[in-house]
Symmetry: none
Subunit: 219 residues, 4 copies
């Protein structure tokens, strides 16, 4: 997620304004979806003219990607905090799960934006987005697991990249279950409990048990 997708003029805008535009944009894209979100409406809600919006962003897509980048950065920073600690991998895992639950509730719209792009139909855009978003996260997971593997903290017959992949699948699904309408209902159908009523501790404990063997099982 390196490439900037806004025009120089956006840099020159006041922080307050930048903040507002992205906040409103995230809100709108998250609740309406990319296609149904209306850039004129976003401009109006953000208190700027549509003309100025186009001085800041060349296209609707650019605005969307910039909103997305902002959301992803916040999630990534949180993950960073956890992953750079010296905790044992099992402790890290617990922290990550717990943080995932909390963040999903606190930053629901960022997760919804993320969910939005997982449905991207244009192959080129999908690839670019995936590269920008997944590379950083995956690297952190893979590195952590590889380190644990070196320390013999993890069963040795598991491929660390596959391990990271499965782990992130579970976390991603959990995020969506906290934030996206379809996934929320699905969570309720499976567990019998609305996700907002669900005891967070229960989720953390159960998920940890579920993946326990990957960390501790020795042949």
């Amino acid at each position: 997620m390196i490439e900037k997708r806004y025009k120089d003029a956006f840099d020159r805008a006041s922080d307050e304004r930048k903040e507002k535009i992205l906040e409103i944009g995230i809100e709108e894209f998250a609740t309406m979806g990319y296609e149904k979100a209306n850039i004129n409406v976003i401009a109006k809600k953000a208190g700027i003219s549509i003309g100025l919006m186009y001085k800041y962003f060349a296209t609707k897509e650019d605005l969307f990607v910039t909103c997305l980048q902002r959301g992803m950065k916040i999630l990534d920073d949180a993950l960073d905090e956890i992953m750079k600690s010296d905790d044992k991998i099992l402790i890290k895992a617990e922290k990550v799960i717990r943080t995932t639950c909390r963040h999903s509730k606190a930053n629901a719209n960022y997760i919804r934006l993320y969910n939005e792009i997982t449905g991207e139909k244009n192959p080129v855009r999908a690839q670019q987005l995936a590269e920008g978003i997944e590379t950083s996260t995956s690297t952190k997971y893979i590195t952590s697991i590889a380190q644990a593997l070196a320390k013999d903290d993890v069963r040795s017959d598991l491929d660390p990249r596959m391990f990271a992949f499965f782990l992130d699948n579970l976390l991603m699904s959990l995020q969506f279950s906290y934030t996206c309408d379809y996934y929320r209902k699905r969570f309720e159908i499976y567990t019998g409990v609305d996700v907002d009523e669900m005891d967070e501790e229960q989720v953390v404990t159960q998920l940890l048990k579920f993946i326990e063997s990957a960390f501790t099982f020795k042949k």
Copy 2:
């Protein structure tokens, strides 16, 4: 997914035509997404007039849901086959994973339709869709796991519904990784290999190991 979303006239159409319309519809919705899919284009590709299309389906949404129902039925039938066997749960799991891989390749568009609805933003529709689609699958998983639990084939400190939920999260993520552009790239970023080049056996083995403790771990 009980209620029919097509008009009686559609029942009276030839099987060949029904087939064609749904096939084209699935293709179009899967590749374009719901919003960008164009009913007039679907009608033209299916070789019927737009007027007739509306004799068959009252709205674009009805056509979409009918396409979806068809796709889901096929996936559900396949799952049924596996789940009603007497195999031990670990064998079932292996079969399900393997079938998931195969089906995802063979029926990519059905999975893409499924992916499409996971992004549904309208809460009411999202709930209806989730109920229609997830109930059947979840019931099968939960039942199988509960039976295994009764036979002591599974660690007893795991909630069967949570277990089923985590399991399905992994399978669902796998399906999308085989079929949806964003998830495919993500798969490659994590594993280092394009999903089409990936040895299916490797995926099955690694995923089985990942979830092994859930099935075998005893305190």
Copy 3:
């Protein structure tokens, strides 16, 4: 209203079927208006196929006109009954007013059809319709008044045709006030009473008084 606007096949249909088609047609045109009425819906409600409908009527307009003719004939017959009596003109007037009130309630849909055509925008069609419908009624009024004039029952400085015109204006407005949504509300705004709650006798009395001078005033 001489010209027949249906095909020969309609004549050959059973009376029951003819009845049904016109009844449903009148109902539909009266409640939906000409433009929004749907000929396919009329056919379905009447229990015949749309194909057969077009065997009976060449166009939607022809069906409408045939429905209209039927409605007008019934109203005209009732008027005939009154006008051919030997009553004094003032008695006739009272009878006509009273009959107008009753008929408007009993045959609301016929009146609504009549109201529908008073808005006809095509000059040629408007003329044809007016000729077909108004000629018969106007002749009756004018003749009656002329006879009364000859007998000196009516003030002599009034033109009988103008007299008839004004009289019919009042009766027509009354009909619409009993049957058409806009006119009904207008009636309530003027009189303060919903037309269904209004005492019929009150209407008859007041209207008779209103036009009294035309009949009795002598210079």
Copy 4:
């Protein structure tokens, strides 16, 4: 007829443009009728794009109502002028009739719009329209008559509201007879003269005589 049915953007348009749009709109709705009038055509004739039309009016119906309001205001203002004078009621009546004739010729399209809504089939809309349009006129008539009644200028056994109602029925019918195709032909059938050839004085005189007793008759 209080609530505004246009968007703020319409207020900001130049007077010339507002004028043009409403003028063209009135013309189009008056000659084609609501259903057959085409917004795209109106926009084109008014020299603006269809997109801008929808910046001014949210729906076709809103455009129609705004056109209607404009037409009604002009008619209402004219009536105001007459009614607020101190003339005796018989003089007022004469003036109103004469003005009605003139206005109907000069502002035929306004009257045609009015005629259009008297056929409204949707009960809720019909009521709203009637309230917006008839309340003001009826109040003026009823007040004037009640005042005359107090001054004993009018026969006392007539209900002023009924009186006003009958009076307006005659005037309304006259308006339509000058402007709407069906009513014009009907006028000719009754009087034997095309309304454009008819001497206005003759109409005024005859109508005054017709209603004379209401004003002058004493038991």
